[in-house]
Structure formats: C-alpha cells, structure tokens
C-alpha cells in the first residue's frame, strides 16, 4: 500500500517537473499578458505618461469605436480583403491540385514552382511587388500597356486600387498552400469511387462535382478556417507596401492596432481593438463550424 502511494507521488512529481518549464513560460508570456490585456481594455492609458497615465474608463473604449472612422474603414477593408482573397485562393488551389494530381507530367517540378511564393518571406515578396506595381513604368503596367490596356490602374498609389493590389499579391502568395493541402486531401479519396463512376460513364466534370469536391469537405473546411483567420490578421503586406494608405484605403485592423499602440501609445484603446479582432475571428470560426456540420449532415 505504501509502495503504491509512493509511486503515485513520484508520478505526480515527475508530471509537474516535466511541465514546469513550459508552464512557467506559459504563465509569464501567455496567460498573464492575456489577463493584463483584458484589464487594459477598461483603461485610457497614454503610455508615454507611464503608470500614472492610467485612467479607468469602463467600456468607453468600445463605445468610442462606433464613431472612429478608421475602425469602420479597417473593418470594411478586412471584410473586402477576406471575401475576395479567401474564396479565390481556395478555388484556384483546388483546380491546380486536381489538374496537378491527374493530368500532368512533371508534377513535382510544377508543384514546387507554384509553391515557391508561399515559402518565401512575405516581407521580401511585398518589397518586390511594390516595385513591380510602380504606376508610371513598373513592369506590371508596362505589360498591361503592351497588351493594349490604355489606362492601367495606379495600383498601390491610388486609393481605388491599392487594396486590390494587395489582394492579388496575397492570392498569388497563398494558392500554393491551398494546392498542397488539397493535394494531400485528394490522396485520401478512395480510388474505387472514381472507378465506379467510370463504369457509370460519368463525365470528368460530374466526377469533380459529385465525388472530388464533397470528399474534400474536411480539407475545404480546414483551409477556410485557417485562411480566414490569417486574412483577418493580415499585417506584413500592408505595413511594407502601403502603411494603410493612400487615404486609409488599405487600413486593416491589425495595422490600426499597431499604429494605436506603438505610434500613438494608446495602450487601452489598442488592447480593446485587439479583442475585437479576436471576437471577430472567433465568431467567424464558430459560424464556419456550424455551416460545416450542416453541410456534412445534408450531403455526406
């Protein structure tokens, strides 16, 4: 009896020792900052004044957001960015994966080329693209003019096109990721489904719509969630290419939080906005979760 008790004690001790380094770091660098941030939400804190600059304002930070034109603009931009970039990334990725999986030679070489932008540093590709997007004589517009477009867009220099310029680059950078995930998903589809369809004389399009796409639902769901979360957090391309401009046309939540906290040192307001970003991501993920289970109940 005593031996068993001792062994139990020993295992408990081992458990704590194994977890200790991680747990200590987790408490200091994750949990405490999160709790502190939840407290910051209720403060108006001009950080340059030090700890004496803290002032309790209750929910004022959230009420303020309602008439902050920059926040409304950021939300709109984040939404447009997501609605345009996520579905197109997934669709192109799916088509590439299907074609690459069955209908081409040199599959691996082609996959590598398409995948290359995704494994490149986003900051570096943002630098390259911002030079290519040069409005007067950059190669993008030079090519468009050569193709007969008389008035090509001003891309990053014009408020009407800057956001789309970033979206195009983002899609270019992420289709490789969607493709790789879909390729992995395709490996999991049992071959006999297609053989059975062949016997029934189904056309390739019908097979794509009735077998491939439904069987890829878990991949699609997963991709949708990760791409959505990523697109709502977009920061690098905006910071490097436009700094939110021209005239806030590319202002997004994460960049706005960055400006509020580390340019204007409004820590309370910035923290409040970061929780809004979290709430948005959380709500959308939940919604997708619901939609997916309904879709699966209906079709699979």
């Amino acid at each position: 009896m005593k031996r068993i008790h001792q062994a139990k004690l020993h295992e408990n001790l081992a458990g704590y020792l194994f977890i200790l380094p991680n747990l200590a770091g987790y408490l200091v660098f994750v949990l405490v900052p999160i709790l502190f941030s939840l407290y910051l939400v209720f403060l108006d804190w001009d950080y340059l004044k030090g700890f004496s600059g803290m002032e309790w304002v209750g929910l004022q930070n959230f009420i303020r957001m309602g008439d902050d034109p920059k926040i409304i603009k950021s939300l709109t931009n984040n939404t447009v960015y997501t609605i345009l970039s996520v579905p197109s990334t997934m669709l192109i990725g799916l088509l590439l994966a299907v074609v690459l999986n069955r209908y081409v030679y040199y599959k691996n070489a082609l996959r590598t080329m398409i995948f290359l932008p995704y494994i490149s540093s986003l900051v570096a590709v943002s630098v390259i693209w911002s030079i290519m997007y040069q409005a007067q004589n950059g190669p993008v517009n030079a090519a468009l003019k050569a193709l007969g477009v008389a008035h090509p867009p001003g891309w990053l220099s014009s408020p009407s096109s800057a956001l789309y310029a970033i979206i195009i680059m983002a899609v270019w950078a992420t289709v490789g990721y969607a493709m790789v995930l879909y390729l992995a998903g395709l490996q999991g589809i049992p071959k006999d489904l297609y053989e059975a369809a062949d016997i029934d004389g189904a056309s390739p399009i019908r097979k794509l719509l009735r077998i491939t796409i439904p069987m890829l639902t878990p991949t699609t769901f997963f991709l949708g969630v990760t791409l959505l979360i990523g697109s709502f957090q977009v920061f690098g391309p905006v910071a490097v290419m436009t700094q939110g401009g021209p005239v806030d046309s590319t202002m997004v939540l994460s960049y706005h939080i960055y400006l509020l906290a580390f340019r204007y040192y409004q820590m309370g307001y910035a923290a409040a906005l970061s929780w809004v970003l979290f709430a948005l991501i959380f709500a959308i993920t939940l919604l997708q979760w619901k939609a997916q289970s309904r879709w699966q109940n209906t079709y699979l």
Partner: protein, 312 residues
C-alpha cells in the same frame, strides 16, 4: 512520401476491390479503340502540362524579375521589354548590401541566433510538456490542459500590447530576449506534441518502466525518438514562423544592429527609397539562401503542411 502513399494505396486495394473488381467489369472494348483512347489521353495530358507550365512560370516571374533586375543599374530597372539577362552584371549592388553601412550578414546572424534558440527551446519544452500531458497522471492535469486549450485561439495581436509593457517593465525591450523568451513556450507546440504522444502506444513506456527506467529516461530514450515526425513538423513550422516574423521584431527592436532579416530588408526600403536595384539585391539576399534550404527539404515541408495545415 509518394512511395509511401502508393504503398498504402496498394495495401488498401485488395480489400476494397475484392468484390467490386471481379463482380462488375466494364465490357471489353476492341483493342484499337483502347489504343486510340490512350493516345488521345497522352496528347491531352501533354497539352495540360504545357498550359500548367505556363501558369507556373507566371507564378515565378516576380522572382525571375527580381534576380535579373538586381544585377542592373537603376536607369534600366523599368526598361520594357524586359531584358531578362542583363548585358553587364552589376555586382556592386550586392557588395553594398553585404558590406555597406548596414551589412546583411549582421541580419543573417541575428535571425539565425533568434530562430535557432527559439526552435530548439520550443521543441524541448513542448515535447516535455506534451509527454507529461499525454503519458503521466498528475493532479490538475486536465485543468491545466484546458487552460492551455482556452488560449490556443487567441491571436498574436492580443499579446503584443501586454508583452510590450511586460518587456518594458523587465527592461528587455530592444534586446533579442524579447523575441527569444516568448518563443520558447508555445501553446500550439505543446498541443501538437501532446496529441502525438497520446497516439503512441503506452505499452512501450510501461515496458521501460518495468525494466526500471526513470521518467526522464522513458521520455528521452523511448518517447522522444518515436515522436521524430512530429518534432520535424514542429521544427519546420516554428522555423518558418520565426524566420519570417516581421511584426514582433518591428515592435520590440530599435537598434539596427539587432535587426532580423525582414526588418533589415524594410530598413533598406526606408533608407534607399527608390534605389530599386539595391532593394532588389537585398530581396535576393533575404530570399535565395533560405529558398535553397527550403527547396532541399521540400519533402518534409510539404508533408508537414499537409499534416498540420499550418505555417505558424
């Protein structure tokens, strides 16, 4: 990976096909028709390959343009049609990037140091905690794991403001510690390793314990070697994440001597503005060495992403 998949598919096949294959067989077609069909298929396949090759080349055109232009002079940057192969190769752009006022090798050293330490540390703490969560029974285990899980979804942006204040208070701002320390303990890494350890059969560890091995030996000599695939995946994820991270260094570092590669690159943009050839030479310097490494290990990366779907 490919071979493995092919193998598993073969293994699955007999079972799945045993009935359907023999029972329903398409009516045999005349040989000539079959041959014509196969021939047509190959032409089609070739055409689709060519089409997709065109698309793939389009995908890497920005890189080709970057490399080619980085060897030119500024006056020729926007000349159209593009000279893909410069008449004269201007290596001085690279000389300035690597040996100028803010040399690139400093950024490389900083990035290597930060990334190396965080990846190694994170693997160790994650594996240890994952092992404990999965294989050891201790009081409060479920509670602690739930605590970890509850913070898994919190985005990095939420953490930046309080961490900035914390590091300011600890006098760690503008040091590499501000980047290394939080990277050593990740919720995602712990979660991944816990999942993997859970999937390992307990008998192996039990057998070791019967043989009188202590918990550390169970972990280090038996558990850890078995989790190699998960460790490799986690390593790649955390490596790319820290190597390419831009926001944290931007917030926590001030001195140019401490800059990482992405920050160093944007510093070039700030300092040299429209000196495009220099910016492109800096971009090549930031991208190409890493891309070579990544391409060499592409198999693992693709596998890692396919398994977890995460870049970090």
């Amino acid at each position: 990976m490919k071979e493995n998949l092919a193998e598993t598919r073969h293994l699955d096949k007999p079972r799945l096909h045993a009935v359907s294959r023999t029972a329903v067989k398409p009516a045999a077609r005349p040989i000539t028709a079959v041959r014509r069909k196969r021939y047509g298929l190959e032409i089609g396949r070739l055409m689709i390959t060519v089409l997709l090759l065109g698309f793939s080349v389009l995908m890497i055109v920005p890189f080709l343009w970057m490399v080619s232009t980085s060897f030119k002079v500024n006056a020729d940057v926007f000349r159209y049609p593009i000279d893909w192969i410069p008449d004269t190769w201007h290596l001085e752009n690279y000389r300035q990037v690597w040996t100028g006022a803010n040399p690139f090798y400093v950024y490389y050293w900083n990035s290597l140091k930060i990334t190396g330490l965080t990846v190694a540390g994170n693997l160790l703490t994650s594996a240890m905690a994952g092992f404990a969560f999965a294989k050891l029974n201790f009081k409060g285990r479920s509670f602690l794991f739930l605590l970890y899980l509850s913070t898994l979804m919190i985005p990095g942006q939420v953490l930046l403001v309080p961490r900035f204040i914390l590091f300011d208070w600890l006098h760690l701002l503008n040091t590499h510690y501000a980047l290394i320390l939080p990277g050593l303990f990740t919720v995602l890494g712990t979660f991944m390793m816990r999942q993997f350890f859970t999937s390992l059969p307990g008998e192996l560890l039990e057998a070791a314990r019967v043989d009188g091995a202590g918990y550390w030996r169970m972990f280090w000599q038996i558990g850890l070697p078995l989790t190699k695939p998960a460790l490799v995946t986690l390593m790649i994820l955390t490596f790319t994440w820290h190597w390419n991270d831009y926001e944290s260094p931007l917030i926590f570092l001030r001195d140019k001597a401490l800059y990482t590669i992405p920050l160093g690159l944007t510093n070039f943009v700030e300092e040299y503005g429209t000196n495009y050839v220099l910016l492109l030479a800096a971009s090549v310097s930031a991208l190409v060495p890493v891309l070579l490494v990544v391409l060499a290990g592409q198999k693992w990366i693709v596998e890692g992403i396919a398994n977890t779907g995460l870049k970090g």
